[in-house]
């Protein structure tokens, strides 16, 4: 019988439509209640029913940033789960399987179908049965999990609990998972966290067209629109989405949009509009694997230079890439304020891993950050929407009658917003944008744009971005090397980054793409990397593989 003190990894797999994600969440909740930090990925192809879905839940006493792909326990709803993950199993892995569907497997067979049937349940309750079995295997006391399970089965709770209990009873104890501490964390997906952050940052409208992996934000906000007093809408396409959001902004109503690659392409003209007409707007681009439609449900970090230059012409913008639920909340809460203060587009780059994974978030640590940026309000005198000012930022007036006519214009314009092609004014307008860009760059150095963790005295530094940040952070802490994660990627936080990597003898950049986009960006600022660990399989690299690849180059 294995002892599991500090951490455990569980894989649960089955077909799309069998509720794998939900079941994984329940397990994650149980472990979270026991005081563990949670990270759970949800791997699913682009289909509705069938195929192979799986979740991997990693729970640890310490903050978790990735998975190992060495599950201690596997819950197999079908044969595929065992077959497809064979290579990941180790001798100590315990496989709990639905013995009504899976034959000839080693491990703990649970006749889940029969149990559910005889209890008068429905097929989805097979999950409850296996979850019950899991609890026993992990060495949890029924009295400890009973209440949690009851909470997590919102409908037909008693029946579910009954079925879970049957699974529990039939299973065997294989580990002794001990309570890791007090649970104070909230389990939350990246998508939910982004949505909550936006609301906390004052967003009043969210307009989006469905697109994986950004849809989770839309679904979440749509389901919470009354609670949060939000205007959520799905229009005819992404072009409409961003322009509707900009229309809202002209009325003083903070708005955001969310999409992925192809939809982001379609929004480019709107981004450029925001650049010239100085409309504050937040755009979430959730990166997915490969160009074009690519592989919608698989991850990538491959739109970095694109996000920095998307939309024709030259205009200031901010590009941010948070890496987990905590960062997602903080930066999506900051984004509306930043957009508003500088009247620029703010692009949040996320990816499948961040959007779809489940994280432990401690709300207290994020809600007390400073998210109030304010903006230059209309003052006395005749109102000029594009007044030339020292810092390039004009007082922001809306269609609310407080300032007389407000003239928004996507053509080159004079201070009042009337079109002009006068060469001197074209120059002034460009200089206005340049000035604004340098103010933003200066101000942003005041934010915590670059995260450091691990051993800051180590000469070996691993640089990563987005969802790889927490992954590298965890591994580097263990390996006692340095981890650096720039969250703000444009304007590039040169000073902070320089400090963060100072005195490194070796810089290794880890990215989910095939060309080393961050590494190239660093290079253009004079920061050279010694090695690149690039991963473009559509799945986040596992801790084990990353460690192996790191060891090859250190």
């Amino acid at each position: 019988m294995g002892e599991k003190g500090s951490e455990i990894e569980i894989l649960i797999g089955g077909k799309a439509g069998e509720g794998i994600n939900r079941a994984g969440q329940v397990i994650a909740e149980i472990l979270s209640e026991m005081g563990y930090y949670i990270f759970m990925i949800f791997d699913h192809p682009s289909l509705i029913k069938g195929g192979h879905n799986y979740s991997i839940i990693r729970a640890s006493e310490h903050p978790v940033g990735g998975i190992k792909r060495k599950p201690d326990i596997v819950l197999a709803l079908d044969k595929n789960t065992i077959k497809l993950h064979e290579a990941e199993l180790s001798p100590h892995t315990v496989v709990i399987f639905n013995s009504d569907k899976v034959k000839n497997a080693e491990g703990i067979g649970i006749p889940a179908v029969s149990i559910v049937d005889s209890a008068g349940g429905v097929p989805i309750m097979i999950n409850s049965c296996l979850i019950g079995a899991f609890c026993k295997t992990a060495g949890l006391e029924w009295s400890d999990v009973e209440q949690i399970l009851l909470d997590k089965f919102p409908v037909r709770s008693a029946l579910n609990l009954d079925i879970a209990r049957k699974g529990y009873d039939i299973s065997e104890v294989k580990f002794q998972l001990i309570r890791a501490g007090e649970n104070r964390a909230k389990l939350i997906t990246g998508s939910e966290s982004l949505g909550l952050g936006l609301c906390y940052g004052g967003i009043e409208g969210y307009i989006a067209y469905p697109m994986s992996p950004a849809s989770g934000i839309l679904h979440f906000l749509s389901s919470k629109k009354d609670e949060f007093n939000l205007k959520v809408f799905q229009p005819e396409g992404e072009i409409a989405a961003i322009l509707m959001a900009e229309g809202m902004a002209c009325c003083g109503c903070r708005a955001a949009v969310g999409t992925s690659g192809g939809g982001f392409c379609l929004m480019n003209e709107g981004i450029s509009y925001s650049g010239l007409a100085e409309i504050p707007i937040v755009i979430i681009n959730s990166q997915r694997q490969s160009p074009s439609t690519g592989a919608p449900t698989y991850t990538a970090q491959s739109d970095l230079p694109y996000a920095i230059s998307a939309g024709h012409g030259e205009f200031p913008r901010i590009v941010i890439s948070p890496g987990n639920a905590e960062q997602a909340f903080m930066w999506s809460a900051k984004a509306p304020g930043l957009a508003w203060k500088y009247q620029v587009p703010v692009i949040i780059l996320t990816d499948v891993t961040l959007n779809d994974s489940l994280y432990s978030l401690s709300p207290e640590t994020v809600i007390n950050e400073d998210y109030d940026y304010g903006y230059k309000e209309v003052d006395e005198g005749p109102y000029l929407r594009y007044r030339f000012t020292g810092d390039g930022i004009s007082p922001l007036g809306f269609f609310n009658g407080n300032s007389g006519p407000v003239k928004i214009n996507g053509k080159t314009h004079d201070e009042s917003g009337i079109s002009t092609e006068n060469p001197r004014i074209l120059e002034k307008l460009a200089e206005k944008r340049i000035r604004k860009a340098s103010i933003i760059k200066r101000d942003m150095e005041g934010e915590k744009c670059v995260l450091r963790s691990g051993n800051s005295n180590s000469g070996t530094t691993v640089v990563s971005w987005g969802s790889n940040g927490p992954l590298c952070s965890e591994l580097c802490s263990r390996l006692k090397i340095r981890s650096v994660q720039p969250i703000v990627l444009h304007p590039f936080p040169e000073k902070q980054f320089e400090t963060a990597i100072s005195e490194s003898s070796k810089i290794i950049v880890v990215e989910d793409n095939s060309t080393g986009q961050l590494s190239e960006l660093m290079k253009s600022y004079g920061f050279f990397s010694d090695n690149r660990i690039l991963n473009y399989s559509g799945r986040q690299i596992s801790l084990e593989t990353l460690e192996k690849r790191l060891m090859e180059v250190i």
Partner: protein, 277 residues
């Protein structure tokens, strides 16, 4: 305070856009005379000769993107259903590049007033054919070989769910002004398709003068509206009815968004509550 800005007007002499500009100007004057404020109006313009109206009118404006006035306008209404929103769009602008948005606004019955400056050419880019050019029109980019029949925008809009539909003509400014006024008074999606003379590339004034007649019949029956809308197909030499083609009352879209706007604090409180703190 003047309703016209100081911006130099760069429309060609004889351009029908002047009639539209001054119709709207007069309407705004009326509005203010009636005690409303012009600050409650927002004009959203597309890109093309027509769009320049945003520079000329001294009111709230969004000089938007080619083909995209409608989504801007929709966003404005979502944000603030109390604003009166007028869209001045072109035929290339709204029947080609942005057709989709237009039909969806009609479908949703967004409470905006769309004025289509339909000169049946791309004016600002030098007279290329548009979706309402007749199939014989030979522009710089098409042969005029009879192979592309024009759209009948009125029919498309009727099918899409427009609740107010009218046709005007820049050669008849008084009627035009009335039609726009009626459109603005209509609660719901109103579109005034304006046959606009383009003096430089497609001056059909004498044709229009001969064929356009004022229609004043009943406008409440959708089947009659269809027949009326189809009387002229934008291609042949038939008579052309101008007037209100159709009018209907239906729930408007933005009612869905009539939340009380909350301040930042209460929104933050909701998030904190969600966290169960």
């Amino acid at each position: 305070m003047s309703y016209i800005t100081d911006a130099p007007n760069t429309w060609c002499e004889g351009c029908g856009n002047f009639a539209i500009l001054h119709s709207i100007r007069r309407i705004i004057e009326e509005y203010e005379k009636n005690g409303s404020k012009k600050d409650e109006i927002v004009l959203v313009a597309g890109i093309g000769c027509h769009g320049k109206i945003a520079d000329y009118l001294n009111i709230n404006t969004v000089y938007s993107l080619h083909g995209r006035a409608i989504p801007f306008a929709t966003g404005i209404k979502i944000a603030n259903p109390d604003l009166k929103v007028i869209c001045c769009v072109g035929d290339g602008d709204s029947y080609a590049e942005g057709l989709e948005h237009l039909l969806f606004a009609a479908k949703r019955n967004v409470d905006i007033t769309v004025i289509v400056h339909d000169n049946r050419v791309y004016g600002l880019t030098m007279g290329q054919y548009t979706p309402t050019s007749p199939d014989s029109y030979h522009g710089k980019t098409n042969p005029g070989d009879g192979k592309e029949k024009p759209f009948n925008p009125l029919k498309l809009l009727l099918c899409s769910g427009a609740t107010f539909l009218a046709r005007g003509y820049t050669g008849r400014m008084d009627q035009l002004q009335k039609l726009i006024w009626s459109g603005m008074s209509h609660k719901g999606f109103a579109l005034i398709e304006v046959l606009q003379v383009c003096a430089s590339f497609y001056d059909k004034s004498s044709f229009y003068d001969r064929h356009i007649y004022e229609y004043q019949g009943d406008s409440g029956d959708i089947n009659e509206a269809f027949i009326l809308a189809g009387e002229w197909d934008y291609n042949s030499d038939s008579d052309i009815p101008a007037g209100i083609i159709y009018e209907e009352i239906r729930q408007i879209f933005e009612e869905r968004f009539e939340y009380e706007t909350t301040d930042l604090k209460s929104r933050r409180k909701a998030v904190i509550e969600y966290f169960g703190l």
